[in-house]
Symmetry: C2
Subunit: 368 residues, 2 copies
DNA sequence: TTGTAGGCGTTATCAT
DNA sequence: ATGATAACGCCTACAA
């Protein structure tokens, strides 16, 4: 297809179509091929293609035309080798099929693309061994930066990532470290708004069902919950707080225990919408209605929240925006700018039909 | 950190920590650094690290130890340049935040990782201009193969991808082409099973609400629907078929029109679970109940299907498995093997509570 | 078993 | 404004 330029010697035709094991893609035209066609040196081609002012406008135009006709695509891998910047980032998620991560990923990918960065997707599956492999892979690929989304950022994992010596931005979590920045939502305010909404509806026995035990955002939402209770003059009761483990089944179990209490909650504030999904299920399994018997709030406002029956009252996270923000912060860090260590975005309470007025005392006595 | 080996001349210390604009990652140790430390030549290091039998076991061990201590990571970009294989694939989705795509991605990522491949994530957003950019990016990155998941594979787009001359595997779609293979579910059988289930419950006026007008999988599911009607001795009526445009709102509208018919359907077979979400909403908006007044079936069995109220009867797609299969097929193609042009996986009907017995004639006369 | 010499396709640094 | 030349870090001959 294109002659090879072996030192001083003349070209050697490359057939390309013949050998197929392993499948060799036809050799793409190289910058030297274009140079030969345009009868200029390859650095000139390089300059022309980068719109360098150092090259004659006419020759540049000619070169671009020829390159275009030849279907020339500069190799990012060769460029990366010499520039030492791959314009590539690693995106680490615990699992891709988490809707929250999906939305955030969307924002990241968009922003990355807009700035000429490619995104390596890697999932850690909350598995230490896999985490090591992911770090290893990102290191070998020479990524310029890393975004970790709502991951199990364990004690072991992040230091490993830090060893790569590239900037890291965390979404929905934080961690102290020289290269580690984060994008989070106002968890405290968000949860507080949800609980205050419930209190405003007359609820006094309000439960909190957490998730991802011990994680930053969970702790913050719990703090917001406590805060709202305090402001509402309601005593905090540890029995009304349950922590799941991230799976919906755990949420079902937790809510079931809550409903079995002698004085069960009339409202449940859930760590997120996935947890709320389990809560709704558990409540119905007991023959109770939402919101007549028990009110439920979520967090995230995932796409299905509005389509649940009843539609879920929840705290909206601007997930796409958070992804975009994470990428923009990372871009700054990668270009040497100092970015804010922590970005916070606002939470917005979306009131739908899963929350309603608390029942009066006489009515609620029937269960327990 | 590591001395540079400039030709014959001695080393030059690299400070690495100083210049930060743009942020230069500390130079990683190169194979030559390791060679110097181990007092061998760099090809020997290369061989040792690849477990080549051509190197003395002891020296190999020593080299590996030194490499490990130095935190050496072979550069995939340099390797890619010389081997002409990047061990990288491009994953193209219309949008990442589609749960179907998310699950498939999960399977792909896992399989890719297991085989030492990295995954570039790219979303086309069904936007022609963006599609061009995606193709351009994948070309420059020199990906070894491409997977396209349930995308709008338009007439313009795929030929563009084919120009890259790397194998392509489509998930949930197909296309004739030399390099294009596909992984699909048994759409016809799946939809037929759903409709036969409805017929078995006594339904006669069964509607089909499609999506992605004109796409392969939609056409196949519609065929399955027609097939089931035929087998059940029910006349096909075009008025009972509506096509949306991929957004839930369109499904709501479509179902609303169906319910407004003089003789509305008593059951609705939806293209997928997202469509079903809209259908449920539209049915409820008319004050009708599911399944007492109208039965609904979905397709996919997304995570939320079991948590809807009522839980959704649907056709399960093994999405993770399909992703894995796509990656495995792609691996074969990339290594020169000829893979099956089309893989089909089995569909499984999951009966839940959104489908029930058809109402008797007298009852149903009240609406319309 | 090991070392030497090239080259992968770019960009960068000098000359001219 | 352009060209020659040298890296970038690795792998693959081929030579020793």
């Amino acid at each position: 297809m294109f002659e090879k330029d072996r030192g001083k010697a003349g070209g050697v035709m490359q057939t390309g179509g013949g050998n197929r094991a392993p499948r060799q893609p036809l050799r793409q035209p190289s910058i030297k091929d274009i140079a030969r066609l345009a009868r200029v040196s390859h650095p000139t081609v390089s300059r022309a293609l980068q719109n360098s002012p150092l090259v004659n406008a006419q020759t540049a135009a000619k070169i671009r035309k020829i390159a275009d006709e030849a279907g020339y695509r500069a190799s990012a891998v060769a460029r990366g080798l010499v520039t030492r910047r791959t314009r590539t980032i690693g995106l680490v998620v615990t699992t891709v099929d988490d809707p929250f991560a999906g939305e955030v990923t969307c924002g990241i990918e968009q922003a990355a693309n807009d700035h000429g960065y490619a995104v390596f997707l890697a999932s850690s599956s909350a598995d230490p061994e896999r985490e090591r492999k992911v770090v290893q892979a990102l290191a070998e690929r020479r990524v310029d930066g890393i975004i970790v989304t709502s991951s199990r950022v364990g004690a072991l994992y992040l230091p490993l990532l830090e060893e790569l010596n590239v900037p890291i931005v965390l979404v929905n979590d934080q961690y102290p470290g020289e290269f580690v920045h984060s994008v989070m939502i106002e968890n405290v305010e968000g949860a507080r708004a949800a609980v205050e909404h419930l209190i405003g509806l007359g609820h006094r026995r309000i439960a909190y069902v957490g998730d991802r035990l011990g994680y930053q955002s969970d702790a913050e939402r719990l703090a917001g919950y406590k805060d709202a209770l305090k402001r509402g003059g309601i005593e905090f009761r540890a029995a009304l707080v349950k922590e799941g483990n991230g799976r919906p089944e755990a949420a079902i179990e937790a809510v079931d225990e809550l409903l079995a209490l002698p004085a069960p909650p009339t409202a449940i504030c859930c760590y997120n919408d996935m947890t709320a999904l389990g809560a709704l299920r558990a409540i119905r399994a007991r023959g109770l209605r939402v919101p007549e018997d028990v009110s439920v709030t979520g967090f995230d406002d995932l796409f299905f929240a509005a389509y649940l029956q009843p539609p879920l009252t929840t705290v909206r996270q601007p997930m796409r925006r958070m992804g975009q923000l994470a990428m923009e912060n990372l871009l700054k860090l990668m270009s040497g700018e100092d970015s804010v260590a922590q970005s916070r975005v606002e939470a917005e309470l979306i009131v739908r039909a899963s929350t309603g007025r608390a029942k009066t005392g006489s009515e609620e006595s029937r269960h327990g």
